[in-house]
Subunit: 347 residues, 2 copies
């Protein structure tokens, strides 16, 4: 085999016939030997993406053995964990085993890390047949190895927090980082977070206040969640509205002190684009973090409403995003309580 130079994107491990990035590839090269800019991780746990796990569970009618066999089959066939139906992957936890001499990631052997790039682009080999997993939950105990490229992201797990809590925060840490950056571009702006009671939503509310928001508004779908969010103290105003009803959302945010200079969309339901645009002031910014966002609905919606708003695709990466999100959790009891309650509910 010809010794290829490595590419920081991982292109050198793509086995497809056409040139595609690892995420789009059908199959990755999982050889154990590292290119000089790579890192190998000894895996201890996979965290399957929730949408992916639910699809597998439905498909196999809750038969854990069948789910386990399918995950093994996907990883053996593709060299990565990417659900062919949902296209999604997840993340993993493990310990750094070997660091190539030209790796730019700053990791050392023995570091316990979580990977913040998706499993959909991470070469992975499972060596224990997943025998410690019953196939009935997203948390998958696993022995095996994975490879990180030059352009990858892995965060060292902090000592002062339980691993599950850190992981749960890191999973959504792009949202508070980008929210803070956008809020800093305005002078004491009004910030509305649609889905303010969820993981990315509560962190975004904390980030907005930390970054200098003049007023924060949390929008939630029902009264129970409103009570929880009010108790957390993360938002100046908490309102209940169906985010899919554009007029109801606009009116709710307006009544709470809007329109918003910055609107952050954190609810994973389709059809929230119009309401988010209408809830936002002229020259304001809408940040879409929901994967249910339709590009066309946002673009045509703003044009159809003659809305002079900036619309951002929520990028899950920003330098220092994991450390920033963990810091927000440490400094805000309200955030921590919401995250812990969520972990307990899923335990």
């Amino acid at each position: 085999m010809v010794a290829l130079d490595s590419d920081p994107t991982g292109l050198h491990r793509v086995l497809d016939d056409t040139v595609v990035l690892p995420q789009a590839a059908q199959r990755l090269d999982t050889r154990r030997e590292l290119w000089p800019d790579e890192v190998r991780i000894r895996v201890e746990k996979l965290n399957l993406d929730a949408a992916s796990f639910r699809q597998l569970e439905r498909k196999h009618a809750g038969d854990g053995d069948a789910v386990r066999r399918e995950v093994l089959d996907i990883v053996a066939t593709r060299g990565k964990m990417q659900n062919p139906e949902t296209g999604s992957g997840g993340m993993l936890v493990g310990t750094v085993e070997e660091v190539g001499p030209r790796s730019p990631l700053g990791l050392r052997p023995g570091d316990r890390v979580a990977t913040l790039v998706s499993l959909t682009l991470t070469p992975l080999v499972i060596e224990d047949d997943l025998r410690s997993w019953d196939g009935r939950g997203e948390q998958v105990p696993c022995d095996g190895y994975a490879v990180l490229f030059g352009r990858s992201i892995a965060a060292v797990l902090p000592d002062d927090l339980p691993a599950d809590l850190s992981l749960s925060v890191m999973d959504v840490c792009g949202a508070p980082a980008l929210t803070a950056r956008v809020v800093e571009g305005y002078d004491a702006p009004t910030v509305a977070v649609i889905g303010g009671g969820g993981k990315s939503g509560s962190l975004s509310l904390a980030a907005a206040r930390h970054a200098g928001a003049g007023r924060t508004i949390g929008v939630v779908p029902h009264e129970r969640e409103a009570t929880q969010l009010r108790e957390s103290g993360l938002a100046d105003e908490v309102v209940v509205a169906d985010a899919r009803n554009p007029i109801a959302l606009r009116d709710a945010v307006t009544a709470a002190g809007g329109p918003a200079d910055v609107t952050v969309v954190c609810v994973d339901v389709p059809g929230c684009e119009g309401g988010a645009i209408l809830a936002t002031a002229e020259r304001g910014t809408v940040v879409f973090f929901s994967m249910a966002t339709s590009f066309a609905a946002a673009a045509l919606g703003a044009e159809g409403l003659a809305a002079d708003v900036t619309m951002l695709v929520g990028n899950g990466y920003a330098p220092g995003h994991a450390a920033y999100a963990l810091e927000l959790l440490r400094e805000n009891d309200g955030v921590r309580r919401l995250f812990e309650a969520r972990l307990e509910a899923h335990a």
Copy 2:
């Protein structure tokens, strides 16, 4: 019938049972009488969206009469021209017939205008059975009326340019306006326009230079278009690359003086997200104007590449966008030649 107050979004003309904006509605109220903030236009021509017209043409195997009957049927049934397959509409040209006393649009009866909001949300009545149209082209001569809401956009057609040329420019005028705004946020940035030889692409190149770009790079799919773009003088560098090949696009932009501080995506083919992200410098901005953009591919792509880039959904509206685009055409012979050549090719 109860006299409803009007809403600037046009909500008062939605006849659906659930609360949706006019664009998402199945059926609009096309009554001739105006609410106080509305404007009625006497229609002279419809400009069907290209994707919509091609779908109708294919469906009816080029039978112009059948295409005409289907357009009449859609408009009669829905009260607006929105192709149920493609979801798209188009725009219209006409003369202002009546202006409600509280209309904020600044129009006067007799103004000849183009509507810059989509036909998908514009109440429309056709009164001549489209008898002057053979069903074989996107330009539809039409007598009838249409209604604009409080939040609508209509541009008065200038006297010094042929109407078809003005329309062709107005059709894509959001792209140069947003490009200029983004470019102004950097200091003499390098700007790459993917699809720089097309309508929105060539205007975006002109806008980038006008707004202070230090270097402009036009990326086109083949040598013929490269020659045309070089002759126009709109770009400092012109390179040929397949925008769907992320590594080829990155390498082409880098070789031309990149990575780009601002990358503008104007090609209507899927799969350009990864290459656009890779062609962009850290802290740079990618503006997606292509309706073929996948929100998830952009969001997950940037995260998977650990790319600290700002990604914008190309909003088709900005204040003064039509006037700015027409000004760019008047001041740049290169833009004008490209647009005129395109109109001739389609005549």
